[in-house]
């Protein structure tokens, strides 16, 4: 009977490893518009449409939370021109290029306003994410564009310390 245990353990280990490998998290960068600091968020099982999220802030605080994709389909042209310009100038090597001049500088009064949407623009959240940290930070993220197939998106984030972040999913 004892002879059956090692194979069972091996199978369990293999299944756990395969399960872990099968779903690498989708990464997102959060650019703090006030100080150019970067944070990285991980969306687990994005294609399941809701799931867990982890986020590490520059000061080391670890946040945990979750994301939910909505049933909205934001048209590509709904991205404000300034955000489109800034995002198109980003690359993984120069992530902070072009941050100056973002509409969120100052104290926007809404997520849509911080992303640069103006009166008449179509601001429909394509995904919402929320995470909280052990040191009391609460972060809310709204993605206004989302390409689920390519796991790419753009949006805005805000925390309870008054910071605003431009968010890019798919890095």
């Amino acid at each position: 009977m004892a002879g059956y245990r090692p194979p069972v353990l091996c199978l369990a280990l293999a299944a756990a490893l395969l399960g872990g490998c099968a779903a690498p998290p989708s990464k997102a960068r959060l650019y703090n518009i006030g100080n150019d600091m970067l944070s990285t968020a991980r969306f687990y099982q994005l294609d399941r449409r809701y799931g867990r999220l982890t986020l590490r802030l520059p000061d080391g605080e670890q946040l945990r939370g979750e994301f939910t994709l909505t049933r909205e389909r934001a048209p590509a042209h709904s991205v404000p021109e300034i955000v489109r310009l800034v995002i198109s100038s980003w690359s993984s090597k120069a992530p902070d290029a072009g941050l100056s001049g973002l509409p969120a500088a100052g104290a926007p009064d809404s997520m849509a306003g911080a992303f640069g949407f103006k009166r008449g623009d179509v601001a429909r959240p394509a995904a919402v994410a929320t995470a909280v940290g052990d040191r009391g930070t609460a972060m809310e993220i709204v993605l206004y564009t989302l390409d689920l197939r390519r796991a790419e998106g753009t949006g805005i984030a805000h925390d309870n310390h008054g910071n605003w972040y431009l968010v890019r999913l798919g890095i």
Binding site: R49, Y50, E66, S110, M111, R119, D121, G136, A138, N160
Partner: protein, 146 residues
């Protein structure tokens, strides 16, 4: 034993409300979420409980009831700034798709407004506000389920 067995078969879809002020969580249960309406209960971080009801417009309820839900939604959602806090802008005629109202029986009430719901796959999102002015993001769904 019989009672316990009966209780355990009632489908309860979990939801979390994340406080945008103090990073605390409220755990909510929505009963018979696949049906689209029913009782709701919540547990605060300190252990206090709230109870109430919820309804979504896309559920399996009869058409007459669905119209009543939409009328209730208009009344509840338009009282606050739920749409703007959620992420829409003023240009959008945003329609909430569900709501929940919970109370602890001692003066605390919690209003949940849902903007996206899938009752078949049992997940969704929205924003909530209590009558002390605190805002929350809502995430509905069983995170343990594959």
């Amino acid at each position: 034993m019989c009672l316990f067995a009966a209780c355990s078969t009632i489908p309860k879809t979990p939801a979390r409300l994340y406080s945008l002020d103090n990073a605390k969580l409220i755990h909510v249960k929505l009963f018979y979420f696949g049906r689209g309406y029913g009782k709701a209960s919540a547990t605060l971080p300190g252990g206090a409980t709230l109870s109430g009801h919820y309804a979504v417009a896309s559920g399996g309820q009869p058409p007459g009831r669905r119209a009543a839900v939409m009328a209730d939604l208009d009344t509840v959602a338009r009282r606050g700034e739920f749409s703007r806090v959620y992420g829409y802008n003023r240009s959008i005629d945003s329609r909430p798709v569900g709501y929940a109202i919970l109370s602890d029986g001692a003066g605390l009430t919690l209003t949940m407004i849902l903007y996206s719901v899938d009752t078949t796959r049992e997940y969704g999102t929205g924003v909530a506000r209590d009558n002390r002015g605190r805002w929350y993001r809502i995430h509905i769904g069983d995170l343990e389920k594959d």
